[in-house]
């Protein structure tokens, strides 16, 4: 049952063209065979007629002279040919003169009795002629086709049919095999596809897992960061709050009042330095880059470093002459070098050598030329697992109170923000090398801005203070009033625009980051309405300022001191005097 249905399944699969071809071959073969048979019969007929003519010629004299014996002899001679089935000689009157018959049916006595038989015989008659006169007739009958030849023909036909059937069969089998192979191939392809899909899923899961791991690490780092900030700030805030509480006591001695006020100022300054380092790591610190000679800067720092590192550590400088200039914030550069040096000092508790060296560095990835500033110590070195984390903010190996964990973070932020990079190489027990790669600058060197001359006679003016933060705004207002200016406060840029339209101001002191319109947009609007009105910006940090600059406007960075505010306002108020006067 099963093989039968399988066969039935397979038969339709035999290509129609193949079957058709086999049938065509069969038909063509049959045509050739039948054509050849027809040709054979035609040839045979012709041969028979020629033989009849030969017989007629050979019996002419015998018939003429009534020599029956000779005529019979001649006829029998034809009978030796197995194919000749009958032969007869008839005289001029149509009577049989001599004859030969192989089969049972006798020759008729008279020529008229001969019927031209069809079937498997061929016959022919030929006149017997002597001297131009017909004296009789010869009749010859031969087998159309010998049995052996016919059998051979039929066997060839049979063979052809068998071969055609074989062709169809082979085609069918080959086709089936091909289909089976095809199915297997398809199955394999689909397996492969499934495997690929699984692989894809695994890759995605792995990527997801990695992403989760990264996220977890980020959260861990963030936790470390916020914890570190909280810890440091809590310390600083404790000092500030405690000092403020003491200051609030009535009847405090003048000396104590000054000491605690000074403590508040110093602690706030440390807090400002801390946030500055955070911003540096975040690469959001406002930079004041200058084009400068790195070697000169380093030489200028050696005395400071000498004092910082102490007597047990020697300082060696190996500076390559003729290096290109770099455009960096000099304060940040000094901070970075100092941070590295302090780490080096801590790594060399028993003393050692700090080597500062400069040199040309291979070009950066973007093709810019660069120089390298390397600081090497002969200290304890850094373990490989620690080495991976040295740039993480608040990551520190030092005991509490000895380090903030922000030193190398500042170095990293500084180098990155300058457009360069920083590398740390260390061999435990031999020392550490920190290398900063800084891009070259084509700009000419700048003179350091001369500190604004403190003006004895401070100028007074009408100041519009804009800040959305109530406390900062109130402080700015108080400071400005303390400096002798008349002050109007606005709590948003929109309010400031209204106020500037209604009253005349000598300067605008505005925060940058505010809900709604920013300080920079406010400055642009004011420039349209009152081109002569100077604007001073102030901000804790600002992406827009760090990236796009302040558009030429002076910026006072928070936290600022009263002196800094006084200088900034003085600077913008001063040029207006000659115009007014």
């Amino acid at each position: 049952m099963r093989p039968l249905t399988r066969l039935a399944d397979r038969w339709p699969n035999v290509p129609i063209a193949g079957g058709l071809l086999a049938v065509l071959l069969l038909v063509a073969g049959l045509l050739v065979i039948f054509q050849s048979a027809a040709n054979y019969v035609a040839l045979k007929r012709q041969q028979t007629e020629v033989q009849a003519q030969i017989l007629a010629a050979s019996v002419t004299a015998a018939l003429d002279f009534g020599d029956v014996a000779t005529a019979e002899e001649a006829v029998r001679a034809f009978g030796a040919n197995r194919e000749v089935s009958a032969a007869g000689v008839y005289d001029s009157r149509g009577r049989r003169f001599a004859g030969f018959v192989r089969k049972a049916r006798p020759l008729p006595d008279r020529i008229e009795g001969i019927t031209r038989s069809g079937g498997n015989v061929l016959d022919a008659t030929a006149p017997v002629v002597r001297g131009g006169a017909r004296i009789g007739t010869v009749y010859l009958q031969v087998e159309r086709e010998p049995l052996s030849r016919r059998a051979a023909r039929y066997s060839v036909i049979g063979l052809l049919a068998v071969m055609a059937a074989l062709v169809v069969l082979v085609l069918g089998v080959a086709h089936t095999a091909l289909r089976r192979a095809n199915r297997e191939l398809e199955a394999r392809a689909s397996d492969l596809g499934l495997a690929y899909g699984e692989l894809q899923v695994q890759v995605e899961e792995r990527a997801k897992a990695e992403e989760q791991l990264r996220q977890a690490q980020k959260m861990q780092a963030l936790g470390q960061l916020t914890g570190g900030i909280a810890h440091d700030f809590n310390n600083l805030l404790t000092v500030i709050q405690g000092s403020a509480d003491i200051l609030k006591r009535p009847g405090l001695e003048e000396a104590k009042r000054i000491r605690f006020a000074e403590a508040i100022v110093q602690t706030a300054a440390r807090a400002a330095a801390l946030t500055g380092q955070l911003l540096a790591f975040a690469r959001r610190q406002p930079l004041k880059p200058q084009v400068l000679d790195i070697n000169a800067r380093i030489l200028g720092m050696t005395e400071l470093l000498d004092r910082t590192l102490g007597e047990r550590i020697g300082i060696v400088t190996r500076l390559s002459p003729g290096l290109c200039r770099v455009k960096v914030d000099p304060a940040q550069l000094e901070a970075a070098l100092l941070n590295i040096a302090v780490n080096a000092r801590d790594a060399m508790p028993d003393g050692g050598t700090l080597t500062l060296s400069t040199g040309e560095a291979p070009p950066l990835e973007d093709g810019r030329a660069a120089i390298a500033v390397a600081v090497a110590d002969t200290g304890t070195g850094i373990d490989p697992e620690v080495l991976q984390r040295v740039f993480e903010p608040f990551f520190t190996t030092k005991s509490v109170g000895k380090g903030t964990g922000l030193g190398l973070s500042q170095v990293y932020g500084f180098a990155a923000q300058t457009g360069g990079e920083v590398k740390v190489a260390s061999t435990p027990g031999e020392g550490t090398v920190v290398t900063m790669i800084l891009p070259c600058s084509d700009a000419p060197p700048e003179e350091e801005a001369a500190p604004a001359a403190a003006s004895a006679a401070r100028r007074r003016g009408r100041i519009l203070v804009v800040d959305d933060n109530e406390d900062v705004g109130a402080l700015a207002e108080a400071l400005c009033a303390e400096l002798g200016h008349s002050v109007v406060r606005a709590r948003s840029a929109e309010e400031a625009l209204d106020l500037s339209a209604s009253g005349r101001f000598d300067a605008v002191f505005t925060d940058v980051v505010m809900p709604g319109m920013s300080g920079i947009e406010l400055a642009e609007r004011l420039r349209e309405r009152a081109p002569g009105l100077p604007v001073v910006l102030t901000t804790g940090f600002s992406d827009r300022l760090a990236e796009g600059g302040a558009g030429g406007l002076p910026v006072l960075y928070k936290p600022y001191r009263a002196d800094a505010l006084a200088e900034a306002l003085e600077a913008v108020l001063a040029p207006q005097r000659p115009e007014e006067g």
């Binding site: 050979s58 004299a61 018939l63 002279f65 009534g66 029956v68 005289d91 003169f97 002597r130 001297g131």
Partner: protein
């Protein structure tokens, strides 16, 4: 004279009904021989064609005439390649130049032999009968097994410049050749 003539005619008819088995209406040997004589012309080739292409072939009966009217009947209607056959009777070999065929029969075998010798070398097919003696012309009638047969002397024929058809040779009792 009449009776033999009527008899001869009947015999001739019987002979012309050729191939008729001897058992039936037995014609005389003589009538058969008379019927055979003109037929030989169909199997002989003469040098130069034996007279003009349209001229009748001349069958001469030289010496005694055993056939009488039977020979005249035999040639009637007979043609060889479109040429009719004429019968001439000659007493001797004189005037035999016009003959293409000649039945030679002297009063005795010696006379027959002499006439044959006189015709020798001439383009004439000579025929003799064994009943008249042993002298053999190119064709020599005998009766064997009750049937009229003949021997052929190919040598004489060739000497006379005649060619004999192989079909004729095939039915002869014997053929004398140069070898």
């Amino acid at each position: 004279m009449r009776r033999p003539s009527a008899l001869a005619a009947a015999a001739l008819l019987a002979a012309l009904a050729l191939g008729a088995p001897a058992a039936r209406a037995q014609p005389s040997d003589l009538a058969v021989k008379a019927a055979f004589l003109p037929k030989f012309a169909g199997y002989v080739g003469w040098p130069g064609g034996g007279g003009g292409p349209r001229a009748p072939l001349v069958l001469c009966v030289i010496g005694g005439d055993p056939f009488g009217r039977m020979i005249d009947e035999a040639v009637r209607g007979q043609q060889v390649d479109g040429r009719p056959i004429a019968v001439r009777r000659l007493a001797g070999t004189e005037g035999a130049e016009s003959c293409q065929l000649a039945f030679v029969q002297g009063a005795n075998p010696r006379a027959t032999q002499q006439m044959l010798a006189a015709l020798r070398g001439r383009p004439i097919l000579t025929v003799t009968d064994s009943r008249a003696g042993p002298a053999r012309g190119m064709i020599f009638f005998v009766v064997e097994g009750g049937r009229v047969r003949f021997h052929i002397d190919q040598v004489q024929a060739q000497q006379s410049g005649l060619t004999l058809n192989a079909r004729l040779l095939a039915i002869a009792l014997s053929v004398r050749t140069a070898r």
